[in-house]
Symmetry: C2
């Protein structure tokens, strides 16, 4: 009876909950670009104020980077922690947005109402689903059903440099029974899912320098080494013709799927034609002897995220450039060691480098893959709560993305992470015109209310 | 005696001549960027006014692009035409300039005085050497020694799209006995040179599209095709391991050097260690079975002038981009046909393209190589005049750059082009901190006075 009252309250409060989310979305908290440092701070302040308004004792905690927001609420029952991140991805290419990314609005689309704006899905909208569930619960019951800790980060989109030191320094304060993490999605946009397999992430930036200044390709072309040509050869050699990554020892520690998981995944009947068709593609481009679901969930990858060098403006400039640069990232699985891979990757490039070129590297994050223990009865309880809300049996799934926080809870705090989220495949996170379905937001809030009830 | 008076006048007028050049250099006439259209116009106006002041009847002539400056002066003797260009290259990367590229100044360096600023060498400084020679001649003699036509272009750095139509429409007006072209350099920065062999130029812009929007590399990495990876493979395949260009039939029409020219070039004792050492390099990077002088003068090349795609800002963004783009240019020799090469290049790329990608092309200029007939006695006369001024025997040389105008004079007007210039290898044309030595400017003006005397 009391859960029904909370769910009703969520339904009737939805317009106000959306207004609050729009307010938070208006803050351009891009963590990777130093120009938005103050905005990240403002987003943290906004959350501190909102949580204190809920009676959660919350503070902004400084780090060498963007602040953490940490709040505590005493209570009986299990100790649950909630993690989300208030920072967002950059917005370029800005010209591909239909509107200002930080002037969010509710739009009616052919598939239903959506909340449009940077961060609507990743991760401000998801983060607010849990806070709104707590707000409704408190409005109905006057208090929350358990001891709660909020732990909100502002550097997730830029490699979380302050996260591990902060967790280590404040381990006692942050330890809890279950860490609820809301930064994932529904399976195929319709089936509620708890992610139990996450890929790790390693980011590398490469700068190759040839001549020590930009040259005229007429005067020097043909005799001076061109660093873009060198970069192209290096990047082209990272995969073989079958889509396998060629870095020495790269596949060390990559496990094969268990028969059980393989059977479960085949049961999901993943439709890769639709998954790829939604973005204008048709052919799985990874390792040709693997299924598409393996490519995105259980196999490691190497992707070039950016490349630049020479003249890139309008018209033509016959320059032979001094430098070429690229950003490359790896998704890691099983026991792959990011630091060993970094070393082998850099050595491979150094070995390929012509005598007249120099290379320098920058590292961006290095996290191992993680796998959750689902023996804890909380998982079955949460799965049932999700199934009740969505009227579809919830699934344990893998996730192509990297959410290193899950491994950190496990390894640093000994806390079991539980990843539940409501994003859809077409949310365009990290892309222009990011959106979050009002359905995701609404049923997401209701899902958390059900999970709170189930776990306490 | 009268030549001596002109040379003295040049010497005494040098400070004023430099002031006039600085004035012209202050106009940011970047032809390839539409933002500077008005500035190109202003540079043309400046030249019209200056030439009219010299008694040359000069007009700004409109084209679909930037205007031509055309002036005529009646007179006896042979009809000489002078060609130069008033447009300049873009200035990026701006942060590598030690000063505002369009706030030029005279600087004292270890190697002597230089005029620093965009266009100082290419081509405003060179262009003004001829105008200043005429100014001094007129000051001493009251008139010039021959019939003269000035033909100054504003689109040389952006592929000269209006040039051929303009020359064809105004062929009768522009026909002359010799076309003097000042857009080349000294040989090894010290030997006066007449360029008799020019490479052609073909520019191509490639856009490869994979997914129809930027994707999250965590969600799609490993299964969706990455257009930067495709671009890298294509660009890496344009040369084989020996530096040869792999486009089918690319070398059709590439001649071997005549024994005579080969002997003359060996006599020049080109020091490629210094040539490459000046820009921080040591190894000739072109076809490994060719000499460095062949690589830059008589062999065709393929250079990547620019590349871009994905996230190129600060920090990291794990995007799997929708597009990758590159600008590639070819230097052509002998009878290579730019249009056939363009077709073969595009076909080769289409053939390599994975099913899920699309490619589009943009063409930037397509000019054949050219070779000057030096039988005309004017060449020996000019060579002697140059040798007298520089006190070193002048040479007939090749040129790596592409100055299609030379071929146009030959083919459209039947006029013999003569390429004489005073740039040095370290002028950093097309690069940050472009300069022109005061020596080049001063002795360049004197050289033209001597050539005017020798040819009339």
């Amino acid at each position: 009876m009391s859960l029904d009252a909370v769910l009703s309250r969520i339904d009737s409060d939805l317009p106000e909950a959306m207004d609050r989310l729009l307010d938070l979305l208006r803050i351009p908290s891009i963590s990777t670009d130093p120009a938005f440092k103050q905005d990240c701070d403002r987003a943290a302040d906004w959350l501190v104020a909102d949580l204190n308004g809920l009676g959660v004792k919350t503070q902004k905690r400084t780090t060498p980077g963007h602040p953490m927001v940490v709040g505590h609420l005493d209570g009986d029952g299990p100790h649950l922690l909630f993690y989300g991140h208030y920072d967002v991805q950059p917005v370029d290419p800005l010209e591909l947005w239909d509107r200002d990314p930080f002037d969010p609005q509710i739009e009616q689309t052919a598939k239903g109402q959506v909340i449009r704006g940077r961060g609507s899905s990743d991760d401000k909208g998801q983060l607010m689903t849990f806070i709104e569930a707590c707000r409704a619960w408190k409005a109905v019951h006057g208090s929350l059903p358990c001891k709660l800790t909020f732990f909100l980060e502002g550097e997730e989109e830029s490699g979380s440099p302050s996260l591990v030191p902060f967790m280590e320094e404040n381990a006692e304060e942050l330890k809890s029974d279950i860490a609820l993490i809301c930064d994932t999605g529904l399976f195929e946009s319709k089936t509620p899912a708890i992610v139990t397999m996450l890929r790790g992430l390693l980011g590398e930036e490469i700068t190759i320098t040839g001549p020590d200044m930009d040259l005229h390709s007429g005067m020097y072309g043909g005799v001076a080494i061109n660093p873009i040509r060198v970069m192209s050869r290096i990047l082209a050699s990272l995969h073989d013709d079958e889509g396998r990554i060629t870095i020495p020892a790269f596949y060390d520690g990559v496990p094969e799927l268990s028969d059980e998981l393989e059977a479960q995944w085949q049961g999901l009947a993943f439709d890769h034609n639709t998954f790829l068709g939604d973005v204008g593609l048709s052919r799985p481009a990874g390792e040709q002897d693997r299924t598409p679901l393996e490519m995105i969930w259980s196999r490691p990858t190497c992707e070039i995220n950016g490349i630049w060098g020479g003249y890139t403006g309008d018209g033509f400039k016959t320059v032979l450039p001094s430098k070429a640069q690229a950003k490359v990232s790896f998704r890691l699985v099983g026991d792959q060691d990011p630091l060993v891979i970094r070393e082998n990757f850099r050595k491979m490039i150094r070995d390929m480098l012509p005598e007249d070129c120099e290379v320098s590297f920058g590292g961006h994050g290095a996290s191992k893959a993680s796998m959750t223990e689902t023996e804890n009865p909380a998982f079955d309880a949460a799965r049932k709560a999700l199934s009740d809300e969505w009227q579809v049996p919830a699934a344990y799934v893998g996730c192509g993305g990297s959410i290193p926080i899950a491994g950190f809870f496990q390894n640093i705090l000994g806390t079991t992470p539980m990843l539940v989220g409501f994003g859809k495949d077409d949310d365009a996170i990290h892309s222009p015109n990011e959106k979050y379905d009002v359905e995701s937001f609404h049923k997401g809030i209701r899902s958390w209310a059900r999970i709170l009830e189930a776990l306490t």
